[in-house]
């Protein structure tokens, strides 16, 4: 796999991951008063970044491609 294919697969992995985060946190049935995350009070995009950064190691371990040495997302100095 050449570098362009490598980057395409990685970008697709990012999209799939982003969609997973968005749907399990923002969609689906709510029947409990004990939902851990209050969607109205949390910037989901910021939460995406925090989850991605904190779980980068496990995500790359699951990835089918080799690690590229950096996480292609913008870091937030306030995170």
């Amino acid at each position: 796999m050449n570098r362009e294919d490598d980057l395409e697969v990685h970008e697709e992995d990012e999209l799939v991951l982003s969609d997973l985060i968005n749907r399990v946190l923002d969609k689906g049935v709510v029947i409990s008063a004990n939902v851990t995350i209050s969607i109205a009070d949390i910037d989901l995009i910021q939460l995406d970044l925090r989850l991605l950064i904190s779980s980068f190691t496990s995500m790359m371990a699951r990835s089918q491609t080799k690690a590229r040495g950096h996480l292609p997302v913008r870091t937030d100095p306030e995170a």
Partner: protein
């Protein structure tokens, strides 16, 4: 200890749930009957559950393992716990009518999801997560973006009657389109999807449990 909820199915479909479904902390997922509905649950050590990517993936994977056996499930939003099964059924009773109507209406269907860039938008995942520094403005703009978004493409002209209904969500320069597709039509749906040149840079996943089409509490 607490009961963690992954999703809901019609009770008459419970016998088709495989015995090897795994959830958070690698715990076995079981079904709990609440009248004519069944909840997909596992027992977790403490509440609230961990909030990390592995836990989110485990939550999604549990309902996916059920759906891949052609069982329609309404996915629950992440993070819902109950003290015991009685409390679960008690809370569920308040939404029984709406949930039953949804699962009956969509029985035999799964949710296919298409992720693609809005037509004319630049290729940039960064653009999808870039936002103004003011969180209040960012929230209002995200609400505006999600109000009645229209898909970039007319999927009905591409896929015909291969999907029952459609939901569209926009985040930055990305669009997420959810389609209800009959389990037996998945292969035909995928073939029609990939045969269209406009789908070259789109990503398709599923079938999933019902997320966009689940009735929220």
């Amino acid at each position: 200890m607490a009961i963690y909820l992954y999703g809901l199915i019609l009770r008459r479909n419970a016998e088709r749930v495989p015995p090897d479904v795994i959830g958070l902390d690698h715990a076995a997922v079981r079904t709990v009957a609440c009248d004519d509905l069944c909840a997909l649950v596992s027992t977790i050590a403490s509440s609230p559950p961990r909030q990390n990517l592995d836990a989110l993936a485990a939550h999604d994977r549990a309902s996916w393992m059920v759906v891949r056996h052609a069982v329609t499930a309404a996915a629950s939003r992440y993070g819902q716990t109950f003290t015991d099964e009685r409390a679960l059924c008690g809370d569920l009773a308040m939404y029984r009518k709406a949930l039953l109507a949804t699962l009956e209406r969509y029985d035999g269907y799964g949710e296919m999801r298409i992720i693609m860039r809005a037509v004319g938008e630049p290729r940039s995942v960064q653009a999808a997560i870039a936002r103004p520094k003011d969180p209040g403005r960012a929230y209002l703009e995200s609400v505006r973006d999600t109000l009645k978004p229209r898909p970039s493409l007319d999927f009905r002209s591409i896929l015909g009657d291969l999907f029952l209904d459609e939901r569209v969500e926009r985040r930055g320069d990305l669009q997420m389109i959810a389609h209800l597709v009959r389990f037996e039509d998945e292969a035909t749906y995928r073939a029609a999807f990939y045969s269209h040149p406009a789908m070259e840079n789109a990503t398709i996943t599923g079938p999933h449990a019902l997320y966009s089409f689940a009735e929220a509490g």
